[in-house]
C-alpha cells in the first residue's frame, strides 16, 4: 500500500485500510472496529479534512487519479466513523439491536 494516498497525505497512510469503495464495506469495518481504533483514525484525518477537500476539488469528480480516489474513499469512511466518535461513543447506533439497513444503490464514485 505504499504511496496509496496522494503526496502530502503520507501521515494518513496508516489508515489506508479505510479506503473502501462501498458503503457496505465501510459500515462493516466500523462495526468490526474498536472505539480506540476509530478515534485514532478520526483524530488523524479530521484535522486534515479541509486540506483533503481542497486537494480533491482540484480534479473533476469523474477523472480522479487513483491516489485521489483512495483519499475520497477514506473521506467517506471518515464521515461514517464520525457518528461513533462524535455522537454515539460506540460503533453501533444505540438501541438499533439486530436492525440493519443495506445500501442497495449508491453513486459509482
Amino acid at each position: 500500500m505504499t504511496a496509496a494516498l496522494p503526496p502530502g497525505f503520507a501521515d494518513l497512510e496508516p489508515f489506508a485500510d479505510w479506503c473502501l469503495p462501498t458503503e457496505a464495506e465501510r459500515y462493516a469495518k466500523r462495526l468490526a472496529s474498536s472505539m480506540d481504533e476509530m478515534q485514532e483514525f478520526y483524530d488523524a484525518a479530521f484535522p486534515r479534512f479541509e486540506q483533503i477537500l481542497a486537494h480533491l476539488d482540484g480534479y473533476a469528480l469523474d477523472a480522479l487519479p487513483d491516489d485521489a480516489g483512495r483519499l475520497l474513499a477514506l473521506s467517506y469512511s471518515l464521515i461514517n466513523v464520525s457518528f461513533p466518535v462524535e455522537v454515539w461513543r460506540q460503533p453501533r447506533v444505540p438501541d438499533s439491536g439486530a436492525a440493519s439497513m443495506d445500501a442497495v444503490v449508491e453513486p459509482a464514485v
Binding site: 458503503e23 479530521f46 479534512f49 479541509e50 477537500l53 480533491l56 476539488d57 480534479y59 473533476a60 469528480l61 480522479l64 475520497l72 473521506s75 467517506y76 471518515l78 464521515i79 461514517n80 464520525s82 457518528f83 462524535e86 455522537v87 454515539w88 447506533v93 444505540p94 438501541d95 438499533s96 439491536g97 439486530a98 436492525a99 440493519s100 439497513m101 443495506d102 445500501a103 442497495v104 444503490v105 449508491e106 453513486p107 464514485v109
Partner: protein, 430 residues
Amino acid sequence: MAHFPKPAEGSWTEHYPELGTGPVDYEDSISPEFYELERQAIFSRTWLNVGRVEQVPRAGRYFTKELPCAGTSVVIVRDRGGDVRGFHNICRHRGNKLVWNDYPNEETNGTCRQFTCKYHGWRYDLDGSLTFVQQESEFFDLDKDAFGLVPVQTEVWEGFIFVNLDPDNATSVKEYLGGLGAGLEGYPFGEMTQVYKYRANVGSNWKLFVDAFAEFYHAPVLHAKQATDDEARKLQGYGFEALSYVIDGPHGMVSSWGGMSPPKDPSMVKPIENVLRSGLFGPWDRPGIDGLDPLPGAVNPARSPNWGVDSFVFFPNFMLLVWAPGWYLTYHYWPTSFNTHVFEGTLYFVPPKNATERLRQELAAVTFKEYALQDGNTLEATQTMIESRAVTEFPLNDQEILLRHLHRTARGYVADFAKSGAPVDAPAAS
C-alpha cells in the same frame, strides 16, 4: 406554548372533524385477517409508486418489482416508442416468472431487446406481444396474438412510475394524487439524479413505519443524542410543533421547520457538519438549478421563512420529502406479512460538481441511515407489544394527526371493499 398558529378550530385534528379526537384502535396493525383484506382492498387497487423514469432511460431498459402485498411481481420497461409499460412478470406458456436472475424472489434490472423465458424460450417484444414460440407447430391452433404479456395499468407522474393492479381502475394517477400531487408538479425532480437507496427488513406492520415518519413528536426524544447536548436539551424543552398539516382525500402532509440548514450557531451542530456544511437536512447550500425558487404551491403551505422539510404521505405506502436545501427523499413500505415489511429510503440529489459537494451528500445519506436505524428498531419493539393486546387503544395527539388519518383511511378502504360485496380471495401465501 404554541410557537406556530393552528386553525381556528383550535387544533389541526379538529380542523378535519371526520378524524375525531378519541383514542385509536391499532387492531389494524396486528391482525393477519385485516392484512389479507388490505392486500385486496388497498394494495391490489390503488396506485403504487414502483420507481422513477431514470431507471428506464432508454428503450429496452427494464426493472422488476416484487409486490407480495398484491400477490404478484411486475416488470417495468421502456418500449421502442418511448412509453413506459408494466406487465405481470409471468410467462403465458406455463407460468414461469419471466424476468429474474439467480433468485426468483429478488428484484433485478437490465437492458434487453426482448424478454425471453428461461424455461421454454418463449419471447415477448417490449410492448408485451408474443413473438416466438419454441416448436410452435407442436401446439394446437395457438393464436400468438392472444398470448401477449398481461399488462398492468402503468402511468408516469412527474417522473414517478406508478402501477395499479386493478384492471377495472378508472382513476388516473394524477387524479388519484389529488391536490397535494398537483401542488408538487413542476418541482425539478428530474434534475435530482444522484441516488442513494437503502433497504431494510422491518419487523412491524407497514403502517407503523409510516406512523414513525409521519410525526416528528418523537424526534426531540428518540434522536436526542444526534444533536449536541445543549441543543438536545433545548429541542426537548420546545417539543415539536409543525408549521402546517394538510389532509387531502386519502393523502396528507406535514410541513416542518428546519433550524439546522444552516444552523444559526455553529456550536449547535457536530464538528463534521460544520466542516462539510451538511447534515440531516442535506447540504446547507442549495444547488444552482431552476425550479427551486419559487417552489410549487403545495410546498411550505404556511409560507414560513423557517421552513425546513415537507413530508407528503401518499396513500398507501409512498412518502415524498421535499427539503429546503434542494433535494428530495422517498420512503416506501412494502408489506410482506401483517407484522413484517420491506422499507426503502431513497435520497435524490443534483449530481455533485466536485468532491466537496459529493461528500456533503454522503454525510446527508449516512446521517439518514443513522436516524432510520433508530426508527426501525423502535418499531419492532412497538409491534411485539401491540400484539400482546395488553393495551388496545392509544391516545394520539394533535401532532399525530397524519397517523390518525392513515389508520382511518386504511380501515375505510377495507370497510368499503367489504361492503361492495367483492369476493374475498383465499389468503395467498406471501
